[in-house]
Amino acid sequence: MARIIVVTSGKGGVGKTTTSAAIAMGLAKRGHKTVVIDFDVGLRNLDLIMGCERRVVYDLINVISGEAALNQALIKDKHCPNLFILPASQTRDKDSLTQEGIGKILDELSKDFKYIVCDSPAGIEKGAHLAMYYADDALVVTNPEVSSVRDSDRMLGILASKSRRAEQNQEPIKEYLLLTRYSPERVKLGEMLSVDDVQEILSLHLLGVIPESKSVLSASNAGVPVILDEKSDAGQAYADVVARYMGEDKPHRFIDEKKGLFGKLFGRG
């Protein structure tokens, strides 16, 4: 049986696709057969972030409508043999997504894969709903910013009431907080909500903090998940996130500011 992980947020542009790509790659690199599915029908971008945009032949909608077999639509990642990508349709209407169709695909993938990562679209419409409906775990990606935190809280309400686990009175979805685009320097200056602030408001288990980092944009420019940039802070932070998800005890890094000479001279302790 596969574990189904949804990467969700409510708000757009907070780093869901970046996170989906990184987490899926991280799990696959640890030797687990993993598939990452783009649920953003009409605005697919996971293919671009994973660097496989030119190899897309069939997509999720083709599989649901029976125009292609599942293994025809799965794209094998070029960096890691354990990782596969199931792209969303760029042209078709999102009404073609059906709960039953997604259920069948996830069932079939479950036989073969250890982890299924569902990259949710922004918003709380059909695509977002279906991305989280079958989930076992939810990674709630949040920026330290008011609208993102509010939308995340709204999403938590939906996870708790509209998922299959909720409807069937099963054990609820495990929810984790992933704080992205974090800038310790700005937190110190009182310009940005701190990890503690966000955690206090959302009362969620913190899986990791991804610092605001230039490496995220260069990774997406190149079409390589940022977790493969092992020298970068964001890449290391994502590797820690995967380790923690797997149950390893990793202390949180990148929460405190990097101290330059100026900070050492004038800062506290």
């Binding site: 809280d153 309400g157 310009e191 909500l193 959302l202």
Partner: protein, 88 residues
Amino acid sequence: MSLLDYFRSSRPSSASVAKERLQILVAHERVSRNQPSYLPQLQKELLEVIRRHVNVGQDAISFSFEQDGNQETLELNIVLPDQPPKKS
């Protein structure tokens, strides 16, 4: 306390304003989210029943629904009019 901290602490930071606003908003949104779906209808029907016996206005009745672990409490408050209507 360093020299910089002196300037930093002069006014409330924008982050603390954000936190306060979010705490209020989120608490408010969670209350309406966790209410059972039958609550508005129940509220309307109860009001009708009470009005059959006591002449109270819409705002004389307040409901609050609270959830504490496994325990759910529905609190109903009715402010009765000062002078009860005389029975003839």
